[in-house]
């Protein structure tokens, strides 16, 4: 566990650029999107767990929780969850490439940020289209 607040040398350390003083750029936005999508997935997984429990307990319980995946709201929730999932997943691939020192130059990292953003949307659409065709 990080203990940066209590070791007494905090005041002497240089500060990293804060969100408020940092010029917005795509790589920074994608870094924030990675965290936000991660938290969204965590919260979404709780909703899905409630849906699955309803499904497990019987038709009565399912009727109370089926809004999580059915109807307009349900479709929005699952669409958002799947997009966050694929976006976060590709964000992980981006980090794996950066770990190996690849695509770290200005052009490369911009390209990767764009590829993650576009790839997440494409993967989401592709999954929904294939899923609709398969059902």
């Amino acid at each position: 566990m990080a203990q940066a607040d209590s070791d007494g040398v905090t005041d002497k350390r240089p500060l990293s650029p804060h969100l408020t003083v940092y010029k917005p750029m795509l790589t920074m936005m994608m870094s924030m999107a990675h965290r936000i999508s991660g938290v969204a997935l965590y919260l979404g997984a709780f909703l899905l767990a409630v849906y699955l429990l309803g499904l497990a307990f019987g038709p009565g319980a399912f009727g109370a929780v089926s809004w999580i995946a059915n109807g307009f709201i349900g479709h929005v929730i699952v669409l958002g969850f799947s997009w966050a999932l694929f976006h976060h997943l590709l964000g992980g691939v981006r980090h794996a490439l950066w770990d190996r020192g690849l695509y770290m130059d200005p052009k490369g990292r911009e390209l990767l940020a764009q590829a993650t953003l576009g790839g997440g949307i494409v993967l989401t659409l592709l999954t929904w289209i294939l899923s609709t065709l398969a059902s």
């Binding site: 991660g38 997935l41 997984a45 995946a69 699952v78 999932l85 899923s131 398969a134």
Partner: protein, 131 residues
């Protein structure tokens, strides 16, 4: 420019990642290893979850109750929940500065991730159990 310097960590060994060599190494290693597992598992779980909207009680049960989707979703949450726990731990450590609050938040996060895994797994076991 690509970085050619090979990083050798005392804790994680000869590795690709430029990571902490102190207490952050375990966290970092877990996130990276679980990410590899979550690459195929996330795609699978995404596929099965996207198949749910619009399904009736019987249809959704039939889908999730098959052995492969059930197993994939259980293994997914068993790895995704601790991955989420560690991710949120980083966020708490970044933004919660009061020591007592931080401790409470970390504890709540720990038990939330455990509850998520157990409830999700229980639900799928009940759905997939032969009648």
């Amino acid at each position: 420019m690509t970085s050619r310097t090979e990083f050798i960590s005392g804790r994680t060994g000869r590795g690709a990642a430029y990571v902490s060599d102190v207490s952050g190494a375990e966290h970092d290693r877990f996130m990276r290893i679980s990410s590899w597992a979550l690459l195929p598992l996330g795609l699978l779980a995404g596929w099965f979850i996207v198949g749910l909207p619009g399904k009736s009680f019987e249809a959704a049960r039939a889908e999730i109750g098959r052995p492969f989707p059930a197993l994939a979703l259980i293994v997914f949450i068993a790895i995704a929940a601790p991955h989420a726990r560690k991710g949120v731990e980083s966020i708490i450590e970044d933004y919660v500065h009061d020591a007592a609050q931080k401790e409470k938040a970390l504890l709540a996060n720990k038990w939330a991730s455990i509850a998520l895994t157990l409830l999700w797994t229980l639900a799928i076991l009940l759905i997939a159990a032969p009648k």
